[in-house]
Symmetry: C2
Subunit: 414 residues, 2 copies
């Protein structure tokens, strides 16, 4: 038809395939070792136990599990989440504070829908999760960023920024953080900083969105409790998901927050998809009920810790000394900073030509900075791929440094 293009809404006219996604399409060839995705490893799926639970659901609950469900989600699952959040995260909550969503992405969408008008401000760390910021931007929000260091968002800068915003009466609609094993940097906000952040959130009467997909995937030291655990003022919306501790294919996640906010998200969800898939909710519930879910987290942690260590070890051996990185204590990602002379987007074709891929770090900076950074995923590749891929990437970085006229020192072992 002639006029289709003219029919698109203003927001549709602004929608474009993200540059990052287009770059990543280049990396789908089988010969490319990709550290670009954020996928769990299929070896981490408890296939045998999921099969048992699927069979159980089909044998005992087929008529309900195959039917439409309520918008808020399967009540037994919501109750199990209330119980689990007490046991695991020391969060006291109630079923009315829980809504099941089609992945945490839907939670990010629904909370944007019910909180953001065009021009509203969201405050976040930089770099931060691109799936969140792109959703905020789709709602025409204005994103303000606070830099992070090895302790996550810089609390001193956050305090100053909130004071400035408050003076100008331009406080954000909410503060968005991934406090544990952040995507993309892997850094974790330590307990004392969490308390300080919560104090600030209370002082400025803010809503905090605490996105916690990786919180249980802790490989070293003590796991830090979510900020939600100290939420005596009911001002934290906590996003949890079963994608990283069971399997993403069921698309079952939850939000836990102020009942009034969760209720609005539920009203928005009625228009968006009516209810999330019932079958997956039943399977997840049975996995929790049969105590198959949380013991399995230890299996995943062993698998990913080994992969993290394999990647760190290979980086020590193959990356030039100019490359800097942190040692994430959990999660799925390592963050690499190269000399400012290197633009990782410009380097990307060279990486692809050498059959290795990463995510250009700039994608995670709402302000477009971070051109010298990259995100590496260690969860999805085999250990052999990690060794070979890091070797290739080390060469690519060295070549790029060389091209830039620097004198790289090729470290073959440490």
């Amino acid at each position: 038809m002639k006029t289709l293009e003219t029919l698109f809404s203003r927001s549709a006219k602004m929608m474009k395939a993200s540059e990052i996604r287009e770059l990543l399409k280049l990396t789908r060839q089988p010969e490319i070792i990709s550290f670009a995705g954020g996928l769990p490893n299929p070896d981490a799926f408890p296939v045998g136990n999921i099969k048992k639970m699927v069979d159980h659901v089909m044998e005992r609950h087929a008529r309900d599990a195959l039917q439409y469900g309520t918008t808020e989600g399967h009540n037994k699952l919501r109750a199990a989440i209330v119980h689990g959040m007490k046991q695991i995260d020391d969060v006291t909550t109630d079923i009315h504070n829980i809504i099941i969503t089609t992945g945490s992405q839907e939670a990010l969408y629904l909370l944007s829908k019910v909180l953001l008008d065009p021009g509203d401000t969201v405050l976040t760390a930089a770099p931060t999760y691109i799936g969140a910021t792109s959703t905020f931007l789709a709602h025409q929000a204005n994103i303000e960023c606070i830099p992070i260091d090895e302790n996550g968002i810089r609390v001193d800068l956050l305090e100053g920024e909130l004071e400035r915003m408050s003076r100008r009466k331009k406080l954000p609609k909410f503060l968005y953080l991934v406090p544990s094993f952040q995507n993309p940097t892997g850094v974790t906000i330590p307990p004392d900083h969490r308390s300080k952040i919560y104090d600030l959130v209370c002082q400025y009467d803010l809503l905090l969105v605490e996105d916690n997909p990786y919180g249980l995937l802790c490989y070293d030291g003590d796991r830090v409790l979510p900020i939600k655990a100290q939420d005596t003022e009911d001002r934290v919306l906590f996003l949890g998901t079963f994608s990283k501790i069971l399997a993403p294919g069921f698309r079952v996640a939850w939000s836990c927050g102020p009942a009034e906010l969760v209720n609005k998200m539920s009203l928005a969800k009625q228009a968006v998809d009516l209810c999330s898939n019932t079958f997956g909710q039943y399977v997840v519930y049975e996995a929790i009920h049969h105590n198959l879910l949380f013991p399995h987290v230890d299996v995943i942690k062993r698998l990913y810790k080994e992969k993290r260590d394999a990647m760190l070890d290979a980086m020590e051996r193959y990356f030039p000394k100019e490359a800097k990185w942190n040692i994430p204590q959990g999660g799925l990602f390592i963050w690499v900073r190269l000399p400012y002379s290197i633009n990782t987007k410009d380097m990307f074709p060279r990486a692809v030509a050498n059959n290795v891929a990463y995510v250009v770090g700039q994608a995670f900076y709402p302000d477009g900075s971070g051109s010298n950074t990259m995100r590496l995923n260690f969860s999805h590749s085999t250990n052999e791929q990690i060794e070979e891929g890091i070797k290739r990437l080390g060469m690519v970085i060295n070549d790029q440094l060389h091209k830039e006229g620097l004198e790289p020192e090729f470290i073959t072992s440490v």
Copy 2:
């Protein structure tokens, strides 16, 4: 927190629990026979075959079926839908024209998102599906309605309205129709009217959204092909779903339309939920691939035809002669018109007091008319519930007529 209410977006402030949903909450008690829902009957779920397919997926494809999928959906399922639409609906299409959604509700949401700006007009029939119009309204659309008769939307009035709209240069963003066994009335647009509608759509260069959840559930006569089958100009977005022919619990539906539109819907879906649940998509694909899906439709048709006939038979016996209804040739619903003196919303508490429920017909009229109508669902109840529920409802209608001072004739048999 003090300010939560003040943080809500303008659209969230407008969100209210629908009056209908609140009424329906009254009907959840087990003693109430409810004809109010639109649920498939669990007896219609091919539990044995679904179990076989679920086992097959877990044994052969677990690592992929439990992983994230692409936003557009599982490619094998999209290809199977392309093939099925040719075989069953005589629609020639391509995988690039197909997107998998989390139920057709998500398709309605995504198409609204990519087509509607506040104040845009959607043209539809009245009455029509409330899940669609409430989504259009959530996007602040202006809804214009054409009345329906026993042949569906009044084509003569549609023609006049389009001419008027065209003269005023206020053509709608799209025309939304449920041409087969419409929700809520059960009426079907006959082939010659479909051709006339398609001609009008071409003449005015319009986009047509053809929502087809019930198309295969035909109990009498020849099934009518969708309007999409004559879409030589690529201007029909067809919405299909597996909810009514397999099971709703997987939340797997599809849209088939212009590639440019489907592509925009996919971009919107990235922000909404990233991808629909992979596991359900694999199960649906295997059911098609093993030829278990379409033969099962005959089983569902036999079951629902019997229930439709049981309800029609009971209505003949228990409803007063003042009540009028159509004989739907398929789908899930019967539409009842009572004398204008009866307001079915006012009558609702009396029905609930007598342990029977329906949907107030007014809910399906965007202009708030239809106060003398009601929708009855015949798919979900047992035959015994249909007999007893219609008996109760007949008494309620008679009482209401009596209360209104009319002289009801209680027809006990025909």
